[in-house]
């Protein structure tokens, strides 16, 4: 029994290490791609590593109190918790993580969890821009949770399960079994909600640099920032894996996982490059209109 727990912990750490590096490289590659689209040379793809190291090597740090410490910890816990509940590679022993039946509900909670922790931390920072950023971020994530929840309910009704592993299992056997094909309406709702969740343009008003300096993390510096930067890679990768599992058939090998999540990520990047930023009321309104209606439709189909 003890041995099983230790192996599990070992697997979890290895899996986290993999996703952390993958997330950082993903961000680096994407910065490069965006730069090339702009006709620039762009930063090297290992730039996110250097940035983290730089923040870590700062000699002083300012804290504003206990919640200020806990904010980034909650945020990182949200990202890691989310990742560890999702099977990254279907059928793999060590990348299966701690997926269990009913994890879908917990996952939806964890997407929100980090944001709430960050609200407490950034609030104690006392900077008005942090408070504004948090308020905007929370309303936007709440709005995008509505179509996402509807899409998830539709999937749960379709497969009669609340386990991500089972949903992935049901999609094995070729592209024709993917939920993208078998349930296109839920996929549409889910992928539109995904745009709102990824915090890229047009849904990044809560950290708009020209308007409110970087939003919630305004007061965070040095090692606190390291936690937030690490979370950025883990959380983004975890969300990508979640959507891959829900709609695009999951992955049976690391290579497949990398290709699929990379393409899913490029979807929000391309949308972000093409469309300008929404104001917060515009984005909430947008998310509660078309995506939510599509989500309702997806649920209705399965309730009759």
């Amino acid at each position: 029994m003890m041995e099983a727990i230790w192996t599990k912990i070992g697997y979890a750490l290895a899996s986290l290490f993999l996703i952390f590096n993958y997330g950082l490289l993903l961000i680096g590659v994407t910065m490069k791609i965006i730069a090339r689209v702009h006709g620039r040379i762009g930063p090297p793809i290992w730039q996110p590593y250097v940035d983290i190291l730089k923040s870590f090597s700062m000699r002083t740090a300012v804290s504003h109190g206990i919640m200020f410490y806990l904010g980034p910890v909650f945020r990182l816990a949200g990202g890691i918790g989310l990742y560890l509940l999702i099977p990254a590679v279907y059928g793999s022993t060590w990348l299966q993580n701690f997926s269990f039946s009913g994890d879908l509900l917990l996952v939806m909670y964890f997407i929100f969890f980090g944001m709430l922790g960050m609200a407490l931390g950034a609030g104690e920072g006392g900077h008005p821009f942090s408070a504004m950023g948090i308020m905007r971020g929370l309303s936007q994530v709440t709005a995008s949770e509505v179509p996402f929840a509807l899409a998830v309910i539709a999937l749960a009704a379709q497969h009669q399960t609340l386990s991500i592993t089972e949903i992935v299992a049901a999609q094995q056997g070729g592209i024709a079994h993917w939920n993208m094909v078998t349930n296109p309406i839920a996929t549409a709702a889910g992928m539109l909600a995904y745009l709102g969740m990824m915090m890229h343009a047009p849904f990044n008003v809560h950290m708009a640099p020209q308007e409110i300096p970087v939003g919630p993390p305004t007061e965070y510096n040095s090692s606190f920032l390291v936690l937030l930067q690490s979370n950025r890679s883990v959380f983004a990768a975890a969300k990508l894996i979640l959507f891959m599992n829900l709609f695009f058939g999951g992955a049976t090998s690391i290579v497949e996982m990398v290709i699929k999540t990379f393409l899913i990520f490029q979807f929000c990047v391309v949308v972000g490059v093409v469309f300008p930023r929404f104001k917060v009321e515009q984005s909430v309104r947008w998310l509660l209109k078309a995506p939510t209606l599509i989500g309702v439709l997806a649920v209705l189909i399965y309730s009759f």
Binding site: V50, L53, K54, V62, P209, P213, Y220
Partner: protein
């Protein structure tokens, strides 16, 4: 707001410690281990975050840096809108006394190590505003400057050359402005107070 009022607010209104610092900045020596120190310096040099704060006409030279033509991101240089996270402060030209106040506050809020680039002749000796009633003449009386970039106005290429110079200094461990400021804190404060007549800043910002 005079000192007494400020003190009153700080004592009654809120937990002052959360928002103002009650201690002088201190000298923090770099890591003792030589290999680690070199590694950290390398990281510092290759990830420079500029504080988005333009002061004089030279600030018009900053936006082109991010465009396709000059693209400083390839050197690991990015804009950062908050002093808590930024590491490089570019004083982009003449500095009026009013702006100097904000510059001091922002500079003190940046974390150690931090670097200052003086852009344009105005920061060196006052430039064409040398006899103006409301600008300062020599920047390094008020803040420790790592690199000066002379010219009126210097082109973005000159700025990039300045960045490369700064990088060299950081890698050699010579860009210790933050510690220099802490060491000579009284001297800098005295100079600042001499020129800022209506001093209403907190004595210490982090």
């Amino acid at each position: 707001m005079d000192d007494k009022e400020l003190k009153q607010i700080m004592e009654e209104g809120f937990n002052a410690q959360d928002y103002f610092c009650d201690a002088r900045p201190r000298v923090v020596t770099p890591v003792a281990n030589k290999i680690v120190r070199k590694f950290y310096n390398w990281a510092q040099a290759n990830s420079l975050w500029i504080l988005a704060f333009g002061t004089g006409c030279g600030s018009i030279e900053l936006p082109p840096l991010y465009t396709a033509r000059y693209d400083v991101s390839r050197y690991g240089i990015f804009p950062r809108p908050t002093p808590r996270q930024a590491g490089v402060f570019i004083i982009s030209g003449y500095l009026s006394v009013k702006t100097l106040k904000r510059v001091i506050r922002s500079y003190e809020q940046m974390q150690n190590p931090k670097f200052v680039l003086g852009l344009g002749s105005c920061t060196v000796n006052g430039g064409m505003y040398f006899d103006s009633y409301n600008t300062i003449n020599r920047l390094d009386y008020y803040l420790p400057v790592d690199v000066y970039i002379a010219g009126c106005m210097p082109r973005p290429e000159a700025l990039i050359a300045g960045f490369n110079e700064l990088k060299k200094m950081i890698k050699q461990g010579k860009a210790e402005g933050a510690n220099q400021y802490a060491e000579n804190f009284d001297w800098y404060k005295a100079n600042q107070k001499k020129i800022i007549k209506d001093w209403d800043l907190p004595e210490y910002n982090w």
